[in-house]
């Protein structure tokens, strides 16, 4: 077999391992899906009436806020999924089985690609569930089928980027506790962007940060795609952020994995 077939075969084997882990460790999987749903319901039904009125658009209120907040909630779901990745990578690294994988003649990054593919699968499923809940409680997208597809593509690119970042976090962390703390900022960044309120309602310094941090163009892109409105340059900026985060994280993760595990 060639290197490429080995790479695909070994990554698929490792993906199978991750899928089994998710099924066996169901509480974690359910938590990762449940949290964003709780946040969605909280923001729509508790804060939604007031925040929606503050948006100042025609109609206003809860329904309009649901449309506004969904992209932010989806990104929190991505960030939570990535946190789960960091934890499971760190757990793996503390176990003897990784030493076994390292002493086998396998496609070396397969351990990492297995984690990434498994997490992608899990997060995309959780995003589908969260979106379904949003639709059930009244989310009506103005998106065409092509725009829906584009939304899925953008979400996949974002998930891919943050999953690789968290694979690196999981390996950089000295223990599982640290691995669960390192990605925490990712969960909060949507709040410090255009996720929950428009950035122009923020004070100057914060607004500057909110407009330039990566989550804002990502959320603006999805909002535009889902509601069928213009997205301007946000799409290009969002994808550029994804590419940059993916590349840097992949190189970092690979470097961490290839160093001697015992130093």
């Amino acid at each position: 077999m060639s290197t490429l077939t080995y790479a695909v075969a070994d990554s698929a084997t490792m993906l199978g391992r991750q899928v089994r882990h998710m099924l066996r460790y169901l509480s974690m999987t359910l938590m990762l899906v449940g949290m964003p749903i709780v946040l969605l319901l909280l923001f729509v039904y508790v804060f939604g009436g007031t925040l929606g009125a503050g948006l100042g658009g025609p109609g206003g209120g809860r329904e309009q806020y649901l449309e506004y907040v969904l992209p932010g909630i989806l990104l929190i779901a991505v960030a939570l999924g990535a946190t789960g990745t960091a934890i499971s990578v760190a757990m793996d690294m503390t176990e003897g089985i990784i030493a076994r994988f390292r002493t086998m003649a396998i496609f070396r990054p397969a351990v990492l690609t297995g984690h990434v593919l498994g997490s992608m699968l899990q997060t995309m499923l959780s995003l589908a569930v969260v979106t379904a809940v949003a639709v059930v409680i009244g989310f009506r997208a103005g998106a065409t089928p092509v725009e829906w597809l584009a939304t899925v593509g953008v979400l996949a690119a974002i998930t891919f980027a943050f999953t690789w970042l968290c694979v690196a976090f999981g390996m950089a962390a000295k223990n599982v506790e640290a691995a669960s703390n390192l990605p925490q900022p990712l969960v909060f960044l949507p709040f410090l962007g255009s996720g929950f309120v428009p950035t122009d309602s923020m004070p100057a310094g914060l607004r500057w940060f909110a407009e330039y941090q990566p989550f804002t163009p990502m959320m603006d892109t999805m909002r535009g795609l889902l509601l069928g409105t213009a997205i301007g340059s946000s799409g290009v900026v969002a994808l550029a952020w994804c590419a940059a985060i993916t590349l840097a994280s992949y190189l970092w993760a690979r470097k961490l994995y290839n160093r001697d595990p015992i130093r």
């Binding site: 075969a9 089994r20 030493a99 002493t103 397969a110 595990p261 015992i262």
Partner: protein, 319 residues
């Protein structure tokens, strides 16, 4: 290949490794003949595990030449990996998977194909008495079962060389004997085994060749018989109830090895009744209470203690 018979399975020369400025391996030479069991014996912190980590391609060496299965370790790590099986000190099983799934995972990574993988997994579960537990998660296994599963996972690729790092540490006596029989059977089947152990009995039972490792250096090497020959005669071991008695006896007898923690004294002796009586007379004259006495003919423990020059050290921090 005609050279297979004479070529050693493992050959290392001048192996060095430091962690920070602590030299863990300080120039080790090893040669393990194909199809034999070789034991690396030493106290905690001697460098046994580090040696296995290097030979099994887990970590790099700082210096030295190593060939495993005829392949250079530094230049062709994947060729080495394809020829070896490893069972480390940290049991390398996936706790969330069942025993069978663990084996099938390994079969998948060896690209065995579904049929062959299932066949070998079933065979190994049977052979290691895990057939019944095969469908249960590994997390529910006992220590002995985990070790057997761990070893089975290392065997699914049918390696020619097997590294076992303290394969029986923490096992009860019965599981230990089972493990010994498994290791012997493997060697009979032509597999070269390099194992590390801190149990002299284990090295004595299993290994044709024993190397004694202490503080990163090989202090002795040979068969169990050869090593025992390096220890002169037998000794008498005196057990005391109180440190004061031990101290008094040590003063009275002079030429003795004393262990303050165990409250024992080892006195060289030729083991006959006359010298034993003389010894007891000297203790009686000094009015020292002896709690217990035993006569030892030399075993590997003596070799160990004599050559490493220390009774035992605290467990090294896990790495």
């Amino acid at each position: 290949m005609t050279s297979t018979r004479t070529r050693p399975a493992i050959r290392a020369t001048g192996l060095r490794k430091s962690f920070g400025d602590k030299a863990v391996l300080d120039g080790i030479d090893l040669e393990v003949a194909e199809g034999t069991i070789f034991a690396l014996l030493g106290p905690n912190g001697a460098g046994k595990t580090t040696t296995v980590h290097i030979l099994s391609t887990l970590i790099g060496a700082d210096g030295g030449e190593v060939q495993v299965a005829g392949h250079d370790l530094a230049r062709e790590p994947d060729a080495v990996r394809a020829a070896i099986g490893v069972t480390g000190q940290l049991t390398a099983v996936d706790n969330l998977l069942t025993g069978e799934e663990n084996l099938l995972l390994m079969a998948g990574l060896h690209h065995l194909g579904r049929e062959e993988g299932r066949r070998r997994a079933a065979g190994l579960l049977d052979r290691f008495d895990l057939a019944e537990a095969g469908a249960k998660p590994a997390a529910t296994y006992s220590g002995g079962m985990r070790r057997r599963l761990d070893l089975a996972m290392g065997l699914i690729g049918e390696p020619r060389i097997l590294f076992l790092d303290e394969p029986t540490t923490g096992l009860d006596p019965r599981s230990r004997r089972t493990m010994w029989q498994i290791i012997r059977d493997l060697a009979t089947g032509g597999v070269t085994v390099l194992l590390t152990t801190q149990y002299l009995e284990e090295a004595d039972e299993l290994a044709g060749q024993i190397a004694l490792l202490d503080q990163g250096r090989l202090v002795a090497e040979g068969t169990a018989e050869e090593l025992k020959r390096r220890i002169p005669g037998c000794h008498i071991r005196l057990q005391f109830a109180y440190p004061d008695d031990l101290a008094a006896a040590a003063r009275a007898l002079g030429d003795a090895t004393r262990d303050d923690e165990a409250l024992t004294l080892q006195v060289p002796s030729d083991g006959d009744v006359k010298s034993l009586r003389a010894l007891l007379d000297r203790l009686g004259d000094a009015s020292i209470e002896v709690a217990g006495l035993s006569i030892h003919t030399p075993d590997l423990d003596d070799v160990f203690l004599t050559l490493t020059g220390q009774p035992d050290k605290d467990k090294e921090p896990a790495r």
